[in-house]
Amino acid sequence: MKVLVRILLILSLFVGLTSVAIATTDTAQSTVTITFSEISELAVSGNPATLTIVAPATAGALPADQSDATTTMAWTSNVEAGQTRKITGSLATLFDGIDLYATITATSGTGTSAGEVKFTIAATAYDFVTAIGNCNTSNETITFRANVTSMVAPYTSTAKVVTWTLTEDAV
C-alpha cells in the first residue's frame, strides 16, 4: 500500500507540475456562410422615338428606312460555372408593310452581340446578345430600324411592344 501511495503522490506531483509548466489552450469555432444567389437583371432606358415613314425622294422608290438609337439597355448577370445567359427580344405584333430590325451592342466581356436581327414572326423570341456570363454593363445602345417592304395605306400605328428577356442560354 505504501508503494501505491508513493506512486500516486509522484503522479499527482507530475500532473500538477505539468499543468503549471505547460500553458493550456482551448479552441472554439464559428462558421461564416455567404450565399451568392443567381442574379439576372435587365433594364432599358425608355421607349424609342416614333419612327415616321416619309415619302421617297424619288418617284417609284419605296420610302427610306428610318432608325432610332436613342435608347440603351443595361444588364447584370451571374450564372453557375458552365452556363451562360442571353437576351432575347420579341415583337408582339408586326407592322403592316414594314419590317422591324433591332441591334443591341455588347461591350467586350459582357456577351456577344448578334448584330442586326429582324423580328420576322410576331411574338417570337430572337437572340440579340448571347454568351452572357458573370458581368454587368449599362448604356448598351439599342438601334431600331424600320424597313418599308411594300406600300400600304398611310396609318398611324399604335405602339408595338418589344419584350426583352434575359434568360438562360442552352448549355
Binding site: 500500500m1 501505491l4 501511495v5 500516486l8 503522490l9 503522479l11 499527482s12 500532473v15 500538477g16 505539468t18 499543468s19 503549471v20 500553458a23 493550456t24 489552450t25 482551448d26 479552441t27 472554439a28 469555432q29 464559428s30 462558421t31 461564416v32 456562410t33 455567404i34 450565399t35 451568392f36 444567389s37 443567381e38 442574379i39 439576372s40 437583371e41 435587365l42 433594364a43 443595361a74 444588364w75 447584370t76 448577370s77 451571374n78 450564372v79 453557375e80 460555372a81 458573370n134 458581368c135 454587368n136 454593363t137 449599362s138 448604356n139
Partner: protein, 159 residues
C-alpha cells in the same frame, strides 16, 4: 483504522491529480455564426450595376467567453475554408470588452483572416460576453453563384 486513513489519503491524492489538470485548463466558449445572402437587392444601382462590395455582420455576431484562466492569456484566430472564392476577403474585430474581473486589449480594428493564426487580442483572468464582428469585402458580380463557407477558429492560450 489504518486502512480507512489510507483510502482517504488515496482519495485526496487522486483529487489532487485531477484537480491539477482541471483548475489550470483555460476554456473558451463561442456563441453565434454569420450568414449573409447576396442577391439582386444588393446591386449598387439596379440592373447594369455591380454588387455592393462590402458587408458587415452584426456587431455581436459572435460572442466569446474566456474562463478557467490562470492569469494572462492571448487569443489567436484563423479561418479554414470549405468553399471559398479568391475575390472574397474576411475580416474580424472585437467590438466590446465584455465583462469580468480581468482585463482585455487589442483586436479593436479589423484584421484580415487567413489560414494562419494571427494575434487577435489578449487579456488577463476571466472575461465573458466579448462581442465579435465580421466583415466581408471583394464581392462582385464576377463571383459565381454558390454557397461559400469558412470556419473561424479562436484559440486561447495561457501566457
Amino acid at each position: 483504522m489504518k486502512k480507512t486513513v489510507t483510502y482517504k489519503l488515496l482519495t485526496i491524492l487522486a483529487l489532487l491529480m485531477f484537480s491539477g489538470g482541471l483548475c489550470w485548463a483555460i476554456s473558451i466558449t463561442e456563441t453565434g455564426n454569420w450568414s449573409e445572402t447576396v442577391d439582386s437587392s444588393d446591386l449598387a444601382a439596379g440592373a447594369g450595376s455591380d454588387l455592393i462590395s462590402t458587408y458587415e455582420s452584426a456587431s455581436n455576431a459572435v460572442v466569446i467567453d474566456i474562463s478557467n484562466t490562470a492569469g494572462n492569456w492571448a487569443l489567436d484566430v484563423k479561418k479554414l475554408d470549405t468553399t471559398w472564392h479568391n475575390n472574397l476577403h474576411l475580416y474580424i474585430k472585437r467590438t466590446s470588452d465584455g465583462s469580468g474581473p480581468g482585463t482585455i486589449s487589442g483586436g479593436a480594428t479589423y484584421q484580415e483572416l487567413t489560414d494562419a493564426d494571427l494575434s487577435f487580442f489578449s487579456g488577463s483572468n476571466d472575461r465573458s460576453n466579448i462581442n465579435i464582428q465580421l466583415k466581408l469585402t471583394g464581392v462582385t458580380i464576377t463571383v459565381p453563384p454558390n454557397v461559400y463557407n469558412t470556419t473561424v477558429y479562436y484559440t486561447v492560450y495561457d501566457q
